[in-house]
């Protein structure tokens, strides 16, 4: 058995939780949560933690140099730096608008990279 400490981020209460994982990595118990959201969070966080990655991408020929971007959905946590690597290498041409797909599949995650800001040509 493997004991893991976590803080739930579901609400400002921030419950301190302790979860037990068996050899196979399966979560067998969660303690310390005040509501079911904590339990669900702990199981997801220990088995397949995911995050939205936000960053910026260089823009050519625009009124600004950078456009903010995000992964359209969560990506596995261990892929964050792979995503960043691709994002850093990317450059796009103005104009760019909120929602534009800049990469169809970031770092083999199957998730698209979309613009979250507008940059006019300029």
């Amino acid at each position: 058995m493997n004991k893991r400490q976590l803080i739930c981020i579901g609400c400002p209460l921030g419950c301190q939780m302790e979860a037990e994982q068996n050899e196979g990595g399966e979560v067998v118990s969660v303690k310390g949560n005040t509501c079911p959201r904590g339990d669900a969070y702990a199981r997801k966080e220990l088995t397949c933690p995911t995050r939205i990655v936000t960053s910026t991408v260089r823009v050519e020929g625009g009124a600004r140099h950078m456009v903010p971007v995000k992964t359209k959905e969560d990506v596995p946590k261990e892929k964050i730096f792979d995503c960043m690597e691709e994002i850093r290498r990317l450059a796009v041409t103005a104009p760019v608008a909120v929602g534009d797909v800049l990469l169809a599949d970031v770092a083999g995650t199957g998730v698209a990279l979309v613009a979250t800001g507008n940059v006019a040509a300029g």
């Binding site: 400002p12 005040t34 995050r51 939205i52 936000t54 910026t56 903010p68 979250t116 800001g117």
Partner: protein, 486 residues
């Protein structure tokens, strides 16, 4: 000079939400002035997600949240002048103070130079700025490489420039936490985040997702005691502090770094307000406002970070929408008084010396109020209710644990069915109660599992609840709001 019903200073989320709400409430003569080259305020540099969970029920990034409001304003055709810095707001020269004077707004832009517009109502939505680095009380050199966290955020996210490679952050407010992650993702090494207080000023979610995710240590009850390097920062020494926040000798640790970020808090930007004679709270540095978010200067409203520093933009939008609606109601009241076409309006136009003004001073029960009742539907109710405790004013007094409240007083004549009171507590409290006492009698009690200075609290008051505890003949009430253990 161009005249507007409502002029809004600042096109951040607060200014935009106020404009949209005012428009939707029927106002058509609205002008928004913004000094930046684009609308959206501070959100344009907050590229991380976590915005809008309350308002749009989805998790947006800052620029996306801003974009929604920019669009809403655009769809309504609201006039927004960018690259326009407001220099001064003053009362119409020579107007009698009781004549509802117009406000003169002086602005400057490269295209139009210096000019003035006149407004019946002004909404202050200038946001806040970071506390200056003077907060860092360390003798010696000021080498390059010391930035406020917000400046670093602007450099990285807007200019695409990474200010350093090895970083120490002082202060665990949200901007500091967000920048710890941002600089890590951009390839910098964040050595440590030091926080003077025994608790973090930031949201828990940010501690988990910005520090823990990347193994960045957070040292509570620590501060910077020395900075090495003459031209450029070469290292930073931090030490533990005692209960009186004084460094404890022998606990020093030195971190090699080329950059020190300061995330030591935000302060409302109120130079303009002060110039206009708006009373400011020494606790929030923002205007003192009544239930309508109106300052002591009639027809001048405030919302968003210029009023008090918010951590969630959703509440900024909510508060700003209320300010927008109240500004419209104010303009309507003036119009009704003037447009009554009778003696009241003429008297008022002559300087408020006539019957209308006197009636109004007596509590809105005279001709002016009747005229008003005929002019606007919501004021009918106002005039009818004036019999009971309508003239009462409730001063809100923050007590034990509660640092301030917005609003600071409630005029019963203008109170809505429900009034939201927002406040912050001064310490971390667990399993406590927030209670409100009206002239000593408890009227509300709410259990709170946890409260922290970093998260704004709110209490909803019902008008009926207050009236129930009021006595005929008493006009001034004190509503104490406090934190209690049991």
């Amino acid at each position: 000079m161009k005249r507007y019903d409502i002029v809004i200073i600042g096109a951040g989320p607060a200014g935009l939400a106020a404009a949209v709400a005012a428009f939707d409430d029927g106002a058509r003569s609205i002008l928004v002035l913004e000094r930046d080259r684009e609308a959206g305020g501070i959100l344009n540099q907050c590229i991380h997600n976590g915005f809008g969970l309350h308002t749009f029920k989805e998790e947006l990034t800052g620029p996306e949240y801003a974009d929604r409001f920019v669009r809403q304003a655009g769809e309504r055709g609201i006039e927004c002048r960018l690259n326009t810095m407001v220099m001064d707001i003053g009362a119409e020269p020579g107007a009698a103070p009781d004549a509802h004077p117009m406000k003169y707004v002086t602005a400057m832009s490269r295209e139009d130079g210096l000019y003035q517009v006149a407004a019946r109502a002004v909404i202050l939505a200038m946001g806040c700025r970071e506390r200056p680095r003077g907060a860092l009380n360390i003798p010696g050199y000021r080498p390059a490489g010391i930035y406020s966290a917000g400046t670093a955020q602007r450099l990285v996210n807007m200019e695409g420039y990474l200010p350093g490679k090895k970083v120490v952050i002082l202060g665990s407010g949200d901007i500091g936490l967000i920048m710890a992650r941002r600089m890590t993702l951009e390839g910098a090494k964040v050595q440590v985040v030091a926080e003077l207080m025994p608790y973090s000023g930031g949201l828990k979610r940010n501690i988990v997702q910005c520090l823990d995710d990347y193994g960045i240590p957070l040292k509570l009850s620590h501060t910077v005691v020395d900075i090495q390097g003459k031209e450029r920062v070469e290292g930073v020494t931090i030490a533990r502090v005692d209960e009186n926040r004084r460094p404890v000798a022998g606990t020093e640790e030195t971190y090699e770094c080329d950059t020190l970020l300061l995330s030591v808090g935000l302060i409302p930007e109120n130079e303009l307000s002060a110039g206009l004679g708006v009373e400011l709270s020494p606790v929030t540095s923002g205007p003192v406002v009544n239930e309508s978010l109106e300052t002591n200067v009639e027809g001048v409203f405030a919302c968003g970070n210029v009023l008090h520093v918010h951590d969630l933009v959703d509440f900024v939008s909510e508060e700003a929408a209320l300010a927008g609606k109240n500004a419209v109601a104010y303009v309507r009241r003036l119009e009704a008084a003037e447009g009554g076409a009778g003696q009241a309006a003429r008297d008022e136009a002559e300087g408020g010396a006539g019957q209308a003004a006197r009636d109004e001073a007596e509590g809105g029960a005279g001709q002016a109020a009747r005229d008003e009742a005929e002019g606007g539907s919501d004021s009918v109710e106002d005039a009818v209710k004036s019999a009971d405790n309508e003239s009462a004013v409730v001063e809100i007094s923050p007590r034990s644990g509660v640092r301030y409240t917005v609003p600071s007083h409630i005029r019963m004549s203008h109170m809505q069915e429900e009034q939201v009171v927002r406040f912050r507590v001064g310490d971390v409290y667990k399993n406590c109660f927030i209670r409100a006492y009206l002239n000593g009698r408890q009227i509300v009690s709410r259990k709170r599992p946890v409260m922290a200075p970093g998260e704004m609290e709110q209490l909803k008051l019902k008008k009926g609840q207050l009236l129930e505890y009021m006595e005929p003949g008493t006009d001034s009430y004190c509503l104490e709001i406090k934190v209690e253990e049991k």
